[in-house]
């Protein structure tokens, strides 16, 4: 595939991510902060998000496996996940977190477990998509092109 095709593919892919609600305006904000001084900024922030999320999802799984669930603890983790997903514009993850927190407040175990599964799915999806997007970007850069905005 030639450079122009790659660039077009990237733009289409990125647009679809916004269209399908995987990413929101906050992600655009992050891209706008990236410059020649720090050309890896977005990748770095997103990598931190991946690390944070994986840790939090593990904690959440453990917390919800307990005999006596500490809903405050669960809520605290979800709050953090909601915060970081919001900071990078991972809109679908953020939305599930909102529902998740409501179930925590109600101390609804089933609701929480359902949300945990949902948030894991959404996280997995956005992670895959962002990685694909970064790969496309890398291909463009390797081919000597620039990333279209």
């Amino acid at each position: 595939m030639d450079l122009v095709q790659l660039q077009r593919q990237l733009v289409e892919y990125r647009t679809s991510l916004y269209h399908e609600g995987f990413l929101d305006e906050q992600f655009t904000q992050l891209q706008e902060l990236q410059d020649e001084n720090n050309p890896e900024f977005v990748v770095e922030v997103v990598t931190l998000f991946f690390e944070d999320s994986e840790r939090l999802l593990n904690e959440l799984t453990k917390a919800l496996e307990q005999q006596n669930i500490d809903f405050n603890r669960v809520d605290a983790h979800v709050h953090q996940l909601k915060g970081s997903s919001s900071s990078i514009g991972a809109q679908r993850v953020q939305k599930v977190c909102i529902a998740f927190r409501n179930y925590c407040e109600e101390q609804n175990v089933e609701g929480c477990l359902k949300c945990l599964q949902q948030v894991k799915n959404e996280y997995s999806l956005v992670r895959t998509k962002l990685k694909s997007m970064f790969q496309l970007e890398q291909q463009i850069l390797t081919a000597g092109g620039s990333i279209p905005m």
């Binding site: 904000q29 992050l30 902060l33 770095e44 922030v45 944070d52 605290a76 953090q80 919001s86 900071s87």
Partner: protein, 214 residues
């Protein structure tokens, strides 16, 4: 205007901001926002660390070193251990640091929370995610404030708002009585309601920037 008193670090106009947030992602983002806005940044992960940096934890810390002078503190509200609100209180209780503007950041725009923070002396309450425009606006505000501090006595926070409207300037508000000599001659006399009407850009900084809530 001759500069008296505290000088900004290394004689430059660079603001030194202390950012406090337990989220690694948010620390990285705020750091970038501030660097892009030509600010020097120290990012720490907790209120405790922030107090340590300021030297408020009982240790000598960095007290007395001009290069560590902090011009603005931006802190997350919800943090484990010490919350941003508790940190705000500690700073405002300290004679050495109470003049430093403190901005609270939170993903939740709860009115009672916002009021509480503003009442305790927070400069502004920003709803996350924080945008570049928020940081730019803040920076302008603080820079103006620093100039006031260097050029004249900054006795009370409210006075600094009034100082931005010296007697010789044209009134920004259509209501002429506000520009009357009696008001400007005794700025302390104006109450909150009157100063709100002056629609100074500084006043908008007192308002919490509300976004679409969850």
């Amino acid at each position: 205007m001759a500069v008296a008193g505290e000088v900004l670090p290394s004689g430059s106009q660079e603001l030194h901001v202390l950012a406090v947030d337990d989220s690694h992602v948010d620390r990285k983002v705020i750091e970038k926002l501030l660097k892009i806005s030509s600010c020097k940044v120290t990012a720490v992960e907790s209120g405790t660390r922030a107090l340590q940096f300021l030297g408020l934890d009982g240790g000598k810390g960095s007290l007395g070193f001009n290069s560590f002078k902090v011009n603005l503190i931006m802190t997350d509200y919800s943090m484990p251990g010490m919350t941003g609100y508790e940190l705000l209180k500690k700073i405002k209780q300290s004679s050495a640091f109470r003049e430093i503007p403190v901005v609270i950041m939170s993903s939740e725009n709860v009115l009672t929370r916002i009021d509480r923070c503003l009442e305790e002396g927070a400069e502004e309450f920003l709803v996350k995610p924080v945008k570049l425009s928020d940081v730019k606006r803040l920076k302008d505000c603080i820079m103006r404030g620093e100039k006031e501090e260097n050029g004249g006595r900054r006795v009370h926070k409210r006075k600094f708002e009034d100082d931005s409207h010296p007697p010789s300037s044209t009134p920004t508000s259509p209501s002429t009585p506000l520009a009357s000599p009696s008001l400007t001659a005794a700025p302390f006399a104006c109450d909150i309601a009157t100063s709100e009407l002056l629609s100074s850009p500084l006043h908008s900084s007192k308002r919490a920037k509300l976004r679409n809530s969850d």
